[in-house]
Symmetry: C2
Subunit: 443 residues, 2 copies
C-alpha cells in the first residue's frame, strides 16, 4: 500500500447541499486507494509518504465522472456531421457500426480513456458493444468504469444471457475499479418482454440498468401515439424504475413523469453538447433537481459530441439551463459544481465514495492549473472552473490512489501506440453502406 | 522587409460562397506584411527566406477576428456571476467601472490581448474607455485592432469631440495595424441628437460606428413601448445605418428589421456564450445570412463571457443556431468557418485583406496543432476545428507578417509582468459600491 501526499494545493469543497468553497494551502493525504485526510499544509511530514506531489498553485478536485458514454465511438469521430437524428442513426452511425470488430472496441476504448484522463475524467459509465474488450482497456488504463453491454430486442434473449454473463465475469474486476450493469438499448428498440428479461437478469445479479429513454420530445410523442404511455411510464411498468438506473437523456421528459422518477432509483445523465448539436431541446435539469432526481454530467459518444470533455458538458449544462429557464440566476456556479461532483457520483451509483474528497472516499483526484491567462486575474476560482477552464488545464490525475497522469504525461497508456493502432484502421472504419446497418431508428 | 516561409502545413481554405476544404502539404509565403502565395511544398527554396517555420503536422488558417469586445474588462473577470442583466449592469459592472483608472485599461488590454494571442485571435474591435491606453497596448502587442472610445449621452458633446480626436490621433497607427471608429454606447444611453452628433463626426472623419442595439428582446420591446420604433429603426433614422457599422448584439432584432439591415452597411457581432449566460435568447444568425447581413464572431467582455476565446464562440454559435432553428442540418461546418473567417473580416471592415489566406491579403496566420487526443482519429479536419479544437491547440501566431507567438511563447509581451501588474490592483478593482456607478441600465 503506497502512501501519497499532495502537498500545498487549493482544494475544491462542494457540500451535499450544493455550496462550494475553496480550502487554501491544504494537503491531501492518500493511503492505499482512499483519501485519509485533507488538512492545512504544515501538519503532515512529507518524509512519511512514499510519494509526494507538489500541488503549489494547483487546484485539487474530485476526478470527473462521465455518467453516459459510448467511448469506443471515438474511432468514428467527425464522420456524421450536420445531419438530422434520423440520418445520423440510419445513414451514418448504424452503417458505420457494422464495420465494428472487437479489436476496434479495445483500441477505441483506450483512445477515449486516454482523451478522458487528459481531461480529468476518472470514471465512465459506458454503454457499447464487445464490452469484454472495453473492460480490458479500463483495466490497463487504471481508471474506473461502470460497463454495460448494449443489446437490442432483435438480438434475442440469448444476448440477455450473454450480457448477464459479462456482468458476472467483470463485476468488481481490476481491484474493484470495474463495475458492470445491464444495458438494454431503449424502449424503442426493446419490447416490454425484452426489457422485463433484462430487469429479471439485473435483479438476479444485484445490478442496475443503463438505458436510453425519452431522449427527445419526438420519442415521447411517438410513444404516446403508439401506446398511450411516455417512455418513462414504460420503464416504470416493466420494473426498471425499481432498480438503480441511469437514463439517457431525458430531453423528452414531461412534467407528469416527474413524480414517477422522484420515487424511483433512477438518475439522468446530461450531455448538452449533443442535445444542442442534434437540436434535441434541453433536458429539464433544474426541474429534475427540484424533484430530487439526480443528474450527472456526460459526454455521450464522440460522433455526436465530438469530444469526451466534461468541462464543456458542465459549462454547456449551466449555460443551457440559464437560457431555457430564461433566467441568468438559475443553475448557479455551486450547483453546476455539485452536479459535476456529488450528483454525478450518485447517478454513477457511488454516492458516498466518489465525487468528493472527504476522508474515507476513493482517491480519485485531479490537479488543475489555473495559472493560464484565460483565468487571470483569478477573482473567483469556482467561476473559473465552470466558465473558463479547459481540459488542457488538467495537470495531474490520480485514480484509485495511483497517479495515472503526471504533468500531462500519461503513465499507464502509450499515446503514440494507441493513435497509430486506430489510424491504421481509419479507412476500413470510415466505410459506410447505408443499407448495411445494425439497427433502424424509427421510434 | 523580412520574408517568412511557413513550410509544409495543411491550409484551411474557406471560399466566399462558404465552402471549406483543406490544402494538404502546402507552403505559405509571406513578404513584408502580406501573403505572397500558398503553394504545394517543394516549389519554394527555404534558403531564400529570412525566417522559416516548420508547419509539418500543423493546420494554417487566418487569425481569428474578434468583432466586439471590451478587452480591458478582463480585470473584473469572475466578479459578476449568476445575476440578472439589470443587476449585472447596475449592481456590478457599472459600480466596478467607477474604479477604473487609465493604467487599468493599459494593463487590462495587455492581459486580454495576451490571452487572445494564445487563443489565435489577431484582430479585435474593441469598445471601451481610456482608449489611448488601449491603443498603446495594441501597438506593443503587435496585433491588429479597431478601437472605439465608448461614450454615453450624459457625457455631453465634448466627449464626441474628444473621441473624434482619438479617432484622428490613432487612425492608421502602428503601421496601419490600428484603425479607429466612433463608439456611442447604445440608443438606450444616447438620445437621437447625441447619436446624430456621432454620425456627423464619423462622416467628417471617414469612419464608421460601433454600437450596442437590440441586444435582447426586452430592449426592443422597451423601445417600441417608449417611441414606437425598434432600436434598429432608430439607428436608421439617425443615419447610423448609412455608415459602416458594427452592431452588438442583435438578439432582439425583429423580422421587420431585416430589410432595413439588408440594404445598410451594418454587420452584427455574435457572442453566444454571453447570450446563453445572461439568458438573452439567440441572435437570428441564420436569418441574417439569408438576408446577406454579415455576422462576425465576438467574445464581448470577460465579465459576461468569462474568456476571450473565439473557438468557443464559433462552437456555441453553430450549436445555438442548430438548437434555435430546431434543425441539426443548419449552420454547417463550412458556414461556421465562413463566419469565423471571411464574414468576421467583413464585419470588421477589412473584407478583402483579412479573414483569408489569399495572395495579397494581410499576413495574419495561425498554426493549429490537431495532434491532441481530442482530435484523433482526424477523419475531418474541418469538423475538428469547429467542434473539437481548444484555444490551447494554437501553436504559433503571425500578425502583419511578424511572429508574435511561437510554440506557445509570446514574443511581444511578458506574461509574468502583465499578470503581476493586474494582480497588484485586484483588491482595489474588486471594490463595489452599488450607488457609485457610471451609468444606470433602464432601457
Amino acid at each position: 500500500m503506497s502512501n501519497l501526499l499532495i502537498r500545498n494545493c487549493d482544494v475544491l469543497n462542494v457540500t451535499i447541499d450544493s455550496r462550494a468553497f475553496i480550502l487554501r494551502d491544504h494537503d491531501i493525504l492518500i493511503g492505499g486507494n482512499r483519501i485519509e485526510g485533507v488538512q492545512p499544509t504544515g501538519m503532515a511530514d512529507p518524509s512519511h509518504f512514499a510519494q509526494v506531489i507538489d500541488g503549489t498553485g494547483l487546484l485539487a478536485m474530485p476526478g470527473f465522472i462521465n455518467t453516459h458514454a459510448h467511448v469506443p465511438m471515438v474511432i468514428f469521430r467527425g464522420l456524421a456531421e450536420d445531419v438530422s437524428i434520423e440520418k445520423w442513426f440510419n445513414d451514418y452511425m448504424w452503417p458505420l457500426e457494422s464495420n465494428l470488430q472487437p479489436e476496434d472496441v479495445y483500441w477505441g476504448m483506450l483512445l477515449g480513456l486516454a482523451e478522458m484522463i487528459k481531461a480529468g475524467v476518472t470514471s465512465v459509465a459506458d454503454h457499447y458493444f464487445f464490452m469484454d474488450e472495453a473492460a480490458k482497456a479500463v483495466e490497463k488504463a487504471g481508471t474506473r468504469a461502470l460497463l454495460g453491454w448494449a443489446i437490442f430486442g432483435n438480438n434475442g434473449l440469448e444476448m440477455v444471457e450473454r450480457t448477464g454473463q459479462f456482468v458476472k465475469d467483470w463485476q468488481g474486476a481490476a481491484s474493484g475499479r470495474i463495475r458492470t450493469i445491464m444495458a438494454p438499448h431503449s424502449p424503442y428498440l426493446c419490447d416490454d418482454d425484452y426489457l422485463r428479461a433484462n430487469v429479471k437478469m439485473a435483479r438476479s445479479l444485484g445490478v442496475g440498468i443503463h438505458i436510453h429513454a425519452s431522449e427527445e420530445m419526438g420519442q415521447t410523442r411517438a410513444s404516446l401515439d403508439k401506446r398511450g404511455q411516455t417512455p418513462i411510464q414504460v420503464l416504470q411498468q416493466v420494473g426498471i424504475l425499481d432498480l438503480p438506473t441511469i437514463i439517457a437523456h431525458g430531453c423528452g421528459v414531461l412534467p407528469d413523469d416527474m413524480p414517477l422518477l422522484a420515487k424511483s432509483q433512477a438518475g439522468f445523465c446530461h450531455a448538452p453538447k449533443t442535445y444542442l448539436k442534434l437540436a434535441m431541446g434541453y433536458a429539464p435539469v433544474v426541474d429534475f433537481r427540484k424533484h430530487g432526481i439526480p443528474v450527472g454530467l456526460a459526454s455521450d459518444g464522440a460522433v455526436s459530441n465530438n469530444t469526451l470533455d466534461l468541462w464543456e458538458s458542465m459549462r454547456l449544462m449551466a449555460l443551457g439551463q440559464k437560457q431555457t429557464q430564461q433566467s441568468p440566476e438559475v443553475m448557479t456556479i455551486p450547483e453546476a459544481l455539485h452536479i459535476a461532483t456529488r450528483d454525478s457520483a450518485r447517478v454513477y451509483g457511488h454516492p458516498d465514495e466518489l465525487g468528493n474528497l472527504d476522508p474515507g472516499s476513493l482517491a480519485d483526484v485531479i490537479l488543475v492549473n489555473l495559472k493560464g491567462l484565460h483565468h487571470q486575474p483569478l477573482h473567483s476560482v469556482t467561476a473559473s472552473l465552470v466558465y473558463n477552464a479547459l481540459s488542457s488545464d488538467v495537470q495531474t490525475v490520480i485514480c484509485d490512489g495511483q497517479i495515472i497522469m503526471r504533468d500531462r504525461q500519461l503513465l499507464t497508456l502509450d499515446e503514440g501506440e494507441i493513435v497509430a493502432q486506430v489510424r491504421a484502421n481509419m479507412e476500413r472504419l470510415a466505410q459506410r453502406v447505408p443499407n448495411k446497418r445494425i439497427q433502424v431508428y424509427n421510434p
